[in-house]
Each structure stands twice: as structure tokens, then as C-alpha cells.
């Protein structure tokens, strides 16, 4: 397996800016489930993240996309060491930080910052904006020239807030402005890597674009690397140089954004792209409708985790887990974990894939009745003649 994985390393997509900043290998997080009659014992585990490998280079934005329960947020929390990994390793600038203790982690922690989804819950309502942004700087002994207040005012300006609002409280700001405060707090640490966990999904559509543009500006101007976690495929494409598609704790496919969005190979990537609606009435795409929801990560399917919802699954998918590697015909760095990959196109096909039984039945009925009425009208016109 290690041999196949090594294929991933020499590949250098064009957008790559610098050397590897963060390398994650075999990253795993199992949350134990305890139950028992009198004494609790471990009866299983939520396999939230199960052997994930990826690399983020300096100044690069890696998108992590997937549905609920795929482990994308857990991955983000593992990388920032908010959660303790069960297995695998995390290398930051070549240092192994997988299990580093708090004290030794401190200098690195300030370089890896996180932006959270909920702009309402992630700011202390009893602190002023100034305190919120200064706090982490003080803890990490960051002494900006000109003092903290000056720096905070600069940061507020950078994120598009009025520097005069230094003494206001979070509740005086709208959702989008609070998210900007969260971004200013992260920037105060002069991070090299920002983990953005669904940074815009709680915001209104018109505000989302403001925040995405701000993050993109910071990325370009300050050269900060991003791990951009989101469920929205279009936003991930817009923001990320490379994209990893996760499903039930595993990476199904990873590659640069054209690989993933234009020539995807994994059936799940195809299904995701097909499901995401575009605001275009003329959008011509293959139509894939899966059946049911994502299975529970407590007892994930054997072999390939996607096989229970996959239309191409065969016996091999049950017994053998497909390794993440470069399939023939893929660009370098475009890795897919699939035994029976799809053709590299998302264009509409002759036949839709409809796995949902109720939907298939309804469509069958509709088609039959359409055919019947067509026959009837044909008969009618024949009679008239």
C-alpha cells in the first residue's frame, strides 16, 4: 500500500506555490462508543476519519468537500490538534506534531489558525472586539510594533470593518461582520495555515460572497495556506487550488480543481457533482440520483465505503478496499480510490442513473402513461382518418 501511496508525492500540480507545509499521513480518529449493563465498556467506534493522507503546500488552498458524517470537520480539528488523533501522523514544516504536548505545540499552534462555522457561537459575547482579537496575541506573546491596539485597528481595517469599532461587543455586529471578526482574530497570529470549517455556510447568500472574497484576498496577498472545509461544491471550487472529496472518513478522490470538477473518476464525485444544482436552466449534466442517506460511520461498509450506494459496485468492492492512486489517464496528482472508475466527463449521458426506488417507480409510471397517451392519440388520429 505504501508503494502505491508514494505515487502521490512526486506529483506537483501547477498551482503549487512552495514546499510542503502540512503533511498528513494515515490520519485516523475513532470516537469510542461505550455501553454496558453495569460497567461501561467500548462496544464500537465512530470511525469519523479513517486513514486520510494529504499535503498542503505553502500558500496553497486545499478544499475538503463531502456530505455530513464524511469526517471533513473532524479532519480540520485533528490538524489543529483540537482533537487527539487515534493514529497516523501530522507533519508541520517537517516537524511531527501528531502528539506534541501543549507546551511544545504552542509556537506551532499560533501558525495554524481556525475559522469556525458559527459566527454567533465562536465569539465570547462578554468581550469587546478589541479583547477578542488581542487575547490570542497576548497568550502567544506576540508583540506587534506600535502595540496591540494599533495592530487590532489595522486588522479590523484589513477584514473590512471600521477600526473605530474596537470597543464594541459581538452582538452589535451582523453575522457576516462577526465572521470578519473571527478572521481578524486568526490573522492576528500571523498564521501560515488557516483551517476554515464551513466559514460561510451560516451566512446569507449575499454575505457569503463578501466573506469568500475577503478570504481569497488574504490568501493571495498574504500567501496563507488554507484547508477550506465546506459542503458546497461550487464554493470549494471557487476557493481551492486542489480538492479532496471525502466520504465516510476516507478520501475518495483528490486532485486539482479541474481534475475533480471536469474529469472526475470516482462514482461518488460524479454523484455529488450531478446532485449539486446550478442556477442555470440550460445546465446539461449527467443525472445520477443515489438511493438513501449516507450510512452510519459506526459500522461503515467493508471494502469500498461507497459501494452500498454505488451503481458500479461489484463483488470486489465488498472485499477489497480500493487504494487511493493515480488511475491510467489521470493527470499527475489526481488520485482516485475506485476499482471501477467512471469516464472522465460530467456531460449528460443517454441513460440516467436513478437508484432511488420510489423515484424510479414514479418515473417509470410517468413514462408508461406518456407512452400510452401517445399510443392513444395515434389510434385516435388513425380512427379519424
Amino acid at each position: 500500500m505504501s508503494e502505491q501511496l508514494s505515487l502521490a508525492k512526486p506529483a506537483l500540480p501547477s498551482q503549487r506555490k512552495g514546499g510542503p507545509l502540512l503533511e498528513v499521513e494515515g490520519l485516523t480518529k475513532h470516537f469510542p462508543l461505550r455501553d454496558g449493563f453495569l460497567f461501561k465498556r467500548q462496544v464500537g467506534a465512530v470511525q469519523a476519519v479513517d486513514g486520510v493522507d494529504f499535503t498542503i503546500h505553502e500558500g496553497e488552498a486545499l478544499g475538503l468537500v463531502g456530505e455530513s458524517g464524511c469526517g471533513k470537520s473532524t479532519t480540520g480539528r485533528l490538524v489543529t490538534r483540537l482533537l487527539e488523533p487515534t493514529a497516523g501522523q501530522i507533519l508541520y514544516q517537517g516537524h511531527n506534531i501528531t502528539h506534541t504536548d501543549r507546551k511544545h505545540l504552542a509556537p506551532i499552534r499560533s501558525q495554524i489558525q481556525m475559522i469556525f462555522q458559527d459566527p454567533y457561537a465562536s465569539l465570547n459575547p462578554r468581550q469587546t472586539v478589541g479583547t477578542i482579537i488581542t487575547g490570542p496575541m497576548e497568550i502567544n506573546h506576540i508583540q506587534p510594533p506600535g502595540g496591540h491596539e494599533k495592530r487590532v485597528r489595522e486588522l479590523l481595517e484589513t477584514v473590512g470593518l471600521n477600526p473605530e469599532h474596537y470597543n464594541r461587543f459581538p452582538h452589535e455586529f451582523s453575522g457576516g461582520q462577526r465572521q470578519r471578526i473571527g478572521i481578524a482574530r486568526a490573522l492576528g497570529m500571523q498564521p501560515k495555515l488557516i483551517i476554515a470549517d464551513e466559514p460561510v455556510s451560516a451566512l446569507d447568500v449575499s454575505i457569503q460572497a463578501q466573506v469568500v472574497n475577503l478570504l481569497q484576498k488574504l490568501q493571495h496577498e498574504l500567501g496563507i495556506a488554507f484547508l477550506f472545509i465546506a459542503h458546497d461544491l461550487a464554493i470549494v471550487r471557487h476557493f481551492s487550488h486542489r480538492v479532496a472529496v471525502m466520504y465516510l472518513g476516507k478520501i475518495m478522490e483528490i486532485g486539482n480543481r479541474t481534475d475533480i470538477y471536469e474529469t472526475p473518476r470516482h462514482p461518488y464525485t460524479h454523484a455529488l457533482l450531478s446532485a449539486a444544482p446550478e442556477a442555470n436552466p440550460d445546465d446539461e449534466q449527467e443525472r445520477i440520483r443515489l438511493a438513501g442517506d449516507v450510512p452510519s460511520p459506526i459500522n461503515p461498509p467493508t471494502g469500498c465505503r461507497f459501494r452500498t450506494r454505488c451503481w458500479k459496485a461489484q463483488q470486489k468492492c465488498t472485499t477489497e478496499e480500493p487504494p487511493l492512486l493515480q488511475i491510467a489517464g489521470n493527470n499527475t496528482g489526481h488520485l482516485t480510490a475506485c476499482h471501477y472508475p467512471q469516464d472522465p466527463t460530467t456531460a449528460a449521458r443517454d441513460e440516467d442513473v436513478v437508484l432511488d426506488p420510489a423515484l424510479a417507480a414514479l418515473e417509470q409510471n410517468a413514462q408508461e402513461s406518456a407512452e400510452e397517451s401517445a399510443e392513444e392519440s395515434a389510434e385516435g388520429s388513425a380512427e379519424e382518418q
Binding site: 446569507d204 459542503h231 442556477a279 442517506d293 420510489a358 414514479l362
Partner: protein, 357 residues
Amino acid sequence: MTTLTKPEQPSGRRDGAPFLSVRDLSVQFATEDGIVKAVDGLSFDVERGRTLGIVGESGSGKSVTNLAVLGLHNPRNTAITGEIVLNGHELTGAPQRTLEKLRGNTMAMIFQDSLSALSPYYTVGRQIAEPFRKHTGASRKAARERAVEMLRRVGIPQPELRVDDYPHQFSGGMRQRAMIALALVCDPQLLIADEPTTALDVTVQAQILDLLKQLQQETGTAIIFITHDLGVVARICDDVLVMYAGRCVERGTVRDILTTPRHPYAWGLLSSVPRRKAPVDAPLRPIPGTPPSLLKPPTGCPFHPRCEFREYVGDTRCQDERPMLTLDSGRGAACHLPAEQQKSIFAEQIRPLLGRS
């Protein structure tokens, strides 16, 4: 021979009166801070077999409108004026008993969050059977059979067993299906879906949208689909109403709104969402500012404080004069910009950002 049967066909109704007709609807809430003008002079029609999408951001009044149609607002602090005519019956000011007979029967609603919208204390089957028993007078047994049938129709596996499960035993997608079964159990002629797929995963959302569309083809139900997602609108709606600050700012068919929108707010909605086929290097074009407070909505055009095209109109007309929505065969925008200018601005400044040929 065939011409004789034609007038009896239900499709003839398409030409007649709309199934739901809302005229000059206003909804105001009394709050501690003052009066919130949640909906202000809204008019629209919905025809049988068609889907009207109501699009807007939070606080635009899209949900409030539909709660008013169902009569689900709190009468203690809400004032509703205007006309809501459902199939010839006037609903504004109708007694609760009349509304109770219509709700769940002629008109039904699907809510966004199926976990909180279904009672945790009763089985899914019971919650589906309840309105059926009330509105049709069916026996307990018949209602249960109906619930099983509905669950099967919406694609719940093993419906005979799952009918006795509680909502928390269902997955998110299945619960939303159960919610649809609950709404459709009495074959309503009007279905109001309030962000029914927003809480779902994208692959499940696609299933549910297609399912709703197919069920509509079978039953000919009129649907009002409330959403903030223009992609979802493209999938399911025939007509679209864009709401901003409690007012309708633009109306038209789904093609009109998505391919040749006229109102600057509609442009903003389209160009602030990234698109999978748009160029990646161009930044998004967000709408500046934040949505207005409905306690004190802006004068004139409610969108004018955020509008980047005010100077094309000149003077202070946008601040002073409320633009009227005049419809030409169901199409129109409430904007002071001359029609020609709307066209040229969209073609030159907005369309290139959307990545369409």
C-alpha cells in the same frame, strides 16, 4: 369525437382562475421594538400543476407570507391585510374552523427541519394518519394503511415496519420523505414547501427534489417552493418571485429570472454565488451592505441603500419613490431603471461573471 371530451379534462382549469391568488398582502408584527413590516403589498398567483419559487434571503418575508396563507401566524401580535383567495374562498379574516378544514386537506406544508417539525412523541405513522382521519373521517385502520401507502410512495423501505417508528429513528433524508408523505396524505391541491431541502445533504436533496417533481406530475398539485438557493429554483420551479424586504422585486418564469434578470437585487443574487462553470480567477460580486431592518425599512426602493446602479436613475428618485411592479404577461421588475438599461447593464456587467456562453 376527441374534441368533445376536451372541455371535461382538468387541464382546462389552467386557463381559468388561479388556484391561489394573493393580492396586496401585508403582514405586520407588533414587537417590543416597534412594528415589523414583514410583508408589504405582495401579490401573486399560483396555478394548478405549476411551481412558484419564492426566493429571498432571511428576513425577506418569504416564510411569513406562506404562514399567512395557511393562517398559522400568531393572531395576538400579527395584523394581516389584503386578500388571500384559495380556490374561490377568501382566507383573510376567515374563522379558524374554516382554516382548520382547509389546512392539511386542500393546502399542506412541508417544513425545513424535519427533526423539529415532527413531534418526537408520536410514531411517524400516527402523525401521517392523523390529518387523514380528521379530514376524511377514515377509521384508525384505514388511516394506518393510508400512512403505509404514503410512506411507500415516498420511498421509505419496509413501510409496514417503519410506520411504527418514531422520527428520531429515521435518518434525515427519510424524515424529510415522511414529512412529504404527511403533507400529501390528503392529496392537497396546494403544497407549500418551506426550504424543504436546505438541511439535507446534496445527494439527498437531489433525490427529494426529483421526488417532489414526479409526485406533482402525478397529482397536479400547485406548489409554492420557498428557498434561498437559485440552483434549487432552476431544478424545480416554473415561475419565480424574488422577494426583498417584504416586497416582490421581480417576477417571471424561471428562465426569465435566471437568464435575463432585470432587478439589481436579482443580479446580485446570481453573481454572488460561485458557479461550477464560471471562471475561477474572477472574484465573486457580492451585494454590498446588509439586509435592512424591517422595523424601519428604507424609503422608496427598499434595495436602494445597497444598489450599485442608483446613479443610472439619477436624482434621489430611488430614495423617494417606491418603484411599482408592473407585470407584462407575468414578467416584471420593481426598479426605476429603464428597461433598455436593465438589459444592457446585465449583458455587459453581470452576464460575463456567470460563465455562460
